[in-house]
């Protein structure tokens, strides 16, 4: 078996009396889309935060490309090639679409602390940013203020910014949320192609997308992974059907 790109080893996290993550060990292998599903409040976003940085697990470790990154800040994990999109947009809303993309390129391949020269001057960084916008279909909107974009376009921009990092793995928290049928379908097609570049840990409620994309699925309920397996295995798992898909066994 190939080495996983990303893995958690027995991660636990509590908020007071609430156990949001309970001894979670999951991994992400090269070339795959690993979907993480579970009901609202199951602890999916909490797990993502511990993987991407920003929330420190109480116990357990996070491994990324063979390195223990548990103690590293989010920006350090990003520098190592972890690309992330959020459930709730974190874009710089007052900035233009292009500025958001250039910020990603700067973080990935430039010097964001440079005080001379123009950030948006033509060159390798700008090309990188524009290329990412072209890929998600936002090139036409590059001069628009991000706050003027539609919800769906903002989601696309989040993905574009993650692309500028040329990540070694993606972690995406509900990228389809609020996209509508056509939008979901387009993004599903896009992510399908993206897995060849870097594997994706995908939190998603849209089950059509999950079943269409996932190589493996993990089911999280009350902070616990109750099953991991291929689409077929998960579909047939009676415990999953009962706990999550809402069927009477």
């Amino acid at each position: 078996m190939t080495e996983p790109v990303l893995a958690t080893k027995g991660i636990s996290k509590s908020f007071g009396a609430l156990t949001a993550s309970k001894d979670i060990s999951i991994d992400l292998r090269p070339g795959e889309i690993h979907a993480l599903i579970g009901p609202n409040g199951a602890g999916k976003s909490t797990l993502i935060k511990q993987i991407a940085g920003g929330l420190r697990p109480d116990t357990g470790r996070v491994l990324f490309r063979g390195e223990d990154v548990t103690g590293l800040a989010a920006y350090q994990r990003a520098r190592r090639g972890l690309g992330r999109t959020f459930q709730i947009s974190t874009l710089a809303m007052e900035d233009t679409v292009l500025q958001n993309a250039v910020l990603g390129a700067l973080g990935a391949a430039g010097n964001p602390y440079r005080i001379v020269g123009r950030a948006l001057a033509g060159g390798a960084l700008r090309d990188r940013a524009e290329a990412a916008l072209v890929r998600v279909g936002l090139a036409e909107k590059r001069m628009q203020r991000t706050s003027d974009l539609s919800h769906g376009q903002r989601r696309q921009l989040e993905v574009a910014v993650a692309l500028t990092l040329s990540p070694k793995a993606f972690v995406m928290d509900e990228p389809m949320a609020g996209l509508g049928a056509a939008g979901s379908k387009a993004l599903t097609g896009f992510l399908d192609g993206l897995r060849a570049e870097a594997p994706i840990l995908l939190v998603e409620h849209d089950m059509d997308a999950v079943f269409a994309l996932a190589d493996r699925i993990s089911v999280l309920v009350y902070g616990e992974v109750i099953a991991t397996g291929t689409v077929d295995v998960i579909r047939k798992n009676p415990e999953v059907r009962r706990a999550y898909l809402g069927e009477e066994a």
Binding site: A52, G53, G54, A73, A74, Y75, Q76, A78, R79, R84, F86, T90, L91, A92, M93, E94, D95, T96, Q99, N100, V102, L103, G104, L106, G107, A108, G110, N111, P112, Y113, R114, I115, V116, G117, R118, A119, L120, M143, R145, V161, A162, T164, L165
Partner: protein, 327 residues
């Protein structure tokens, strides 16, 4: 040119023409007013880097303003008394040479900003405001209780410091010097805004998470901004002291921090010329209203309230509208 650029150009024009006119009709008082405005504007340009670009509400910028002032006061007082500042292990003498004074002011304020920033930028929101305020007050009380440099009474400098090729005692010449420095600082500030650093700092203000997600450390951006900002405000402190030929602990007071913040907000936070418009307005109000009533700050407060409630972009926002997105 868009409306904001036209307005900015007009502002520079006024800052050149009005004092020149005052010089021609021999009204040096107005030149002094303009000099005060230019120097305060410079302090505001410094504050605007953390406040406008960084979104950091520092109520401690008087610390840097005062450090600049005391850098001037200490160096010049030793020069006028011919007593060295330090005898051993090596000799350090005072100076009345402006470029050296400015350099010392900038470096000292920058170092102070590095320390204050490193400690206070770990916090945010109200804690950040309180910690910066506390640092400012620390300097204030230190200056009051430091008898070798005048303590509460401050320090007087008899003759304005010198600059090669100029007679700085001639008001219009000293004003010209201050205006050139202000314009350079504005140019620097414009450069920052368009740089990679400016883009990242602006983004960190809007969403620290966003910046971290692309591998950039918000703390480092903010600390850099804080140091650059402190340096500029420190330089303005040195000039302010030179204008008055006097330094006192008042420069360190929280009222000073508050006034700088108030006129930046009046003029327009995060707008290049916000501090300039704000400082000019502040000086005009102080002059006009201050002549009518000693409680002129009440009117200033009212104006501030109106601006904050109804014109978030300050005066510049009212005149030039929402800031154009950069190309």
């Amino acid at each position: 040119m868009n409306r904001e650029q036209m307005f900015n150009a007009a502002m520079i024009g006024a800052l050149v023409i009005v004092p020149l006119w005052a010089h021609l009709v021999d009204e040096p008082f107005y030149i002094t007013l303009a000099t005060r405005a230019a120097i305060l504007a410079l302090a505001g340009v410094g504050l605007n880097i953390v406040l406008g670009m960084g979104g950091l509400i520092s109520l401690g910028h008087a610390a840097f303003f005062g450090i600049g002032g005391y850098a001037m006061g200490i160096l010049a007082s030793h020069a006028q008394s011919y007593e060295p500042i330090l005898m051993s292990p090596f000799l350090i003498e005072g100076t009345k040479f402006m470029p050296v004074i400015w350099l010392v002011a900038i470096v000292a304020a920058g170092l102070a900003a590095l320390v204050i920033g490193a400690l206070s930028l770990r916090t945010s929101g109200a804690y950040f405001i309180m910690i910066t305020l506390a640092f400012g007050q620390m300097f204030f009380y230190f200056a009051i209780s430091w008898p070798s440099y005048g303590g509460e009474d401050g320090l007087s400098i008899y003759v304005r410091n010198g600059f090669p090729g100029l007679n700085t005692l001639v008001p219009i010449q000293f004003y010209g010097l201050c205006l050139v420095i202000l314009i350079l600082a504005l140019g620097f500030s414009a450069m920052l805004a368009r740089s990679a650093f400016g883009l990242a700092l602006n983004a960190a203000r809007q969403s620290a998470e966003r910046v971290e997600t692309v591998g950039i450390q918000p703390f480092r951006l903010r600390l850099m901004a804080f140091v650059i900002s402190g340096m500029i405000t420190g330089l303005s402190g040195a000039l302010f002291a030179d204008l008055n030929r006097f330094v006192s602990p008042t420069m360190f007071s929280w009222q000073t921090s508050g006034e700088i913040m108030i006129f930046v907000i009046l003029g327009g936070v995060a707008r290049l010329f916000g501090p300039v418009v704000g400082a000019v307005l502040f000086i005009l109000l102080e002059h006009v209203l201050g002549g009518l009533s000693e409680f002129w700050h009440v009117y200033l407060g009212l104006l501030l309230l109106i601006i904050v409630l109804f014109a978030r972009g300050g005066i510049i926002g009212l005149i030039a509208g929402r800031e154009a997105a950069h190309d």
